[in-house]
Symmetry: C2
Subunit: 162 residues, 2 copies
Amino acid sequence: MAETTLSEVPEEDFLRLDQQICFALHAASRAFNGVYRGALKELGLTYPQYLVMLVLWEHGELPVKRIGEHLRLDSGTLSPLLKRLESAGYVERRRSTEDERSVTARPTAAGAALRERARAVPRGIAAATGLPLDRVRALREELHALTRALDDAHPPPLPPPA
Amino acid sequence: MAETTLSEVPEEDFLRLDQQICFALHAASRAFNGVYRGALKELGLTYPQYLVMLVLWEHGELPVKRIGEHLRLDSGTLSPLLKRLESAGYVERRRSTEDERSVTARPTAAGAALRERARAVPRGIAAATGLPLDRVRALREELHALTRALDDAHPPPLPPPA
DNA sequence: CACAATTGAGTTGCACACAACTTAATGGCG
DNA sequence: CGCCATTAAGTTGTGTGCAACTCAATTGTG
């Protein structure tokens, strides 16, 4: 049972195994998304919008570029998303004075207030996973390593944040 | 260091931990998607289209409903996706004669031939993960359990396949 | 047998992701 | 200084994912 290397797996099983692992990650991500969707509905946030707010709550004002580095997202995704967060009244955007190319985003008063209401979210999610926190942490580390390896094999447009 | 229960984590760290774990899964899924995108480009398939073809290669002709159960996807996603696979010449769709509500899909000759070209894909992906197959299998199991737990806490429209 | 509830596909609308492109500003570099 | 490569946002187009809906076929029930 110690078949650890790729060459020891019979060719016939490979497509099936591939289906299992790539599907598993895909499905888990969407299942997570679904649980967050329910938890975030009353806050008026989508899951990616919540990720952006988490970054802004932690760091305050940030250029779009920096947000993208934290979340591994590019301007093609962030620009319309931030526009929606702005029209929802949760963030303000402002073109930087030092560098006119850069646009920074920061939580408004309503956005900051939203943080208090959001405090209830993570506990509910953690409970829904049914996993002890140690396992959650371990899983997080494993997924980080996996993401790093995959991005390394297929470098994304965004270099990982320094 | 044996803080396993939720109640032992300070409230202040919760939003940050939440960001880390939910982001980790989200990012890993997208990183995987990116690697597949590169590997599948020459086959003319997207990642979800590849998942559908894997199911059809394994099971032959299947109703849309069954495909959805295997992949945890509903008709809102599968209908247009199958239409694209059909216009690409990889699958045929046919309304069932026994139950006129049901539509089945199966690989065409070109779709079946594609399977041979697809054999090269999984090895490349497995190599890109940088993980030994044992770890991949363990991760798969963990993600399956996680998906089940999350779907249980927030039942999706699709019941898990029997 | 009639008829309401259910089921399977499909459609519509919205919000990501991401490639490819455009535009404007900045930073070298001769 | 002048000019070009680089950089940051934003835009466009395509393909999911999913909620909410429509429509037709089927099933269950009195």
